[in-house]
């Protein structure tokens, strides 16, 4: 006997993600799923935003990593509530992991929750966490062709950062091609060019994000 199913393969994850989304929404928590390749500047960006916004908004962080707690320690040093998830080799976070740590965070209403995903431009895009904002960070030394190779990531982004702008003079990075790829996939997504090293461009992104909490 044939049974018609027509259900998304990720059905179980999506159901949990919807529960997370409701949980965050009820408390006016802006959950930001931070996705990028290894070393693009996820932790650096989070640290910069914490510095700029901590006096105005409560901020918490979930650090997803394959095995270490290096990034979580950097956040903890600032006195910011942080929970480490080690995926034990897994290439992404999933909705269930976020649900199990949500209670460990000092999540106040009206706050920002950064979720640093595992460094990877492929797998995290398949796993909805229940976030409100998908932030994708590309960085200059990775090259301008990333939107063409990792289409899902750039297509689904709610906001894109191009980090390490200070390195532009040293890298053959074709900005036109980068933007062409992004605009083909995602016509209206805001793109912020920043440098975590010089601080260039960060205020504009911080303002954009700060406005999401009200």
């Amino acid at each position: 006997m044939e049974i018609k199913v027509l259900k998304n393969i990720m059905h179980a994850n999506q159901q949990l993600a919807e529960e997370n989304r409701k949980f965050f929404k009820e408390r006016n928590i802006v959950a930001v799923n931070v996705m990028a390749s290894p070393g693009a500047g996820k932790t650096s960006t989070i640290l910069k935003v914490i510095e700029a916004l901590r006096d105005k908004v409560n901020i918490c962080v979930v650090e997803g990593d394959i095995a270490s707690s290096i990034d979580a320690e950097k956040i903890d040093k600032l006195g910011i509530s942080v929970v480490q998830i080690n995926t034990g080799g897994g290439c992404h976070l999933d909705a269930n992991m976020i649900r199990t740590v949500a209670d460990d965070l000092k999540l106040e209403e009206n706050s920002i929750l950064f979720i640093e995903n595992v460094g990877n431009l492929v797998c995290p895009s398949s796993f909805d966490l229940g976030e409100g904002i998908k932030l994708v960070i590309a960085s200059v030394p990775e090259g301008h062709d990333k939107p063409f190779k990792y289409t899902s990531m750039f297509q689904e982004a709610d906001v894109i950062i191009l980090n390490k702008m200070d390195l532009m003079p040293y890298i053959d990075f074709d900005r036109d091609s980068f933007y062409k790829g992004i605009r083909a996939l995602n016509e209206t997504v805001p793109v912020f060019e920043i440098s975590c090293k010089t601080g260039e461009g960060l205020p504009a992104f911080v303002e954009w994000l700060g406005n999401k909490v009200k």
């Binding site: 006997m1 998304n8 393969i9 179980a12 994850n13 996939l185």
Partner: protein
């Protein structure tokens, strides 16, 4: 890379549907997967064989229906299969955009007894 987690999710859906129908055995699972989903069929099959041990899906056959990614040209509107490199329209050279075809990721049906 994430085929293990994907396979686990997929099996959960199939088992739930089979149970609802009171089935004793799952013989076949038919999947529809767009080429933009980053999944390797052989890898799913490998995890599937391992994960289904001692379930009613043990020994079931996985059938993959692959859907090519279709883009639409923003200038001349023709639809075309995404070229291996870039998103350019083969007719006029302008940039194409994804249509949604090629992002399928669902279980179409299962065969049970």
């Amino acid at each position: 890379m994430h085929e293990y987690a994907v396979t686990k999710n997929m099996l959960a859906v199939a088992l739930e549907e089979a149970e609802k129908a009171g089935a004793k055995k799952i013989i076949e699972i038919r999947l529809v997967i767009g080429d933009l989903s980053t999944i390797i069929d052989e890898s799913v099959q490998m995890y599937f064989d391992f994960l289904t041990e001692e379930t009613i899906a043990d020994g079931a056959k996985l059938v993959f229906k692959r859907v090519p990614a279709v883009f639409q040209c923003k200038a001349c509107s023709i639809e075309f299969n995404k070229p291996a490199k870039g998103f350019d329209c083969p007719q006029c050279g302008a940039m194409g955009a994804p249509t949604g075809v090629g992002r399928e990721f669902y279980i179409e049906s299962i065969e049970v007894e």
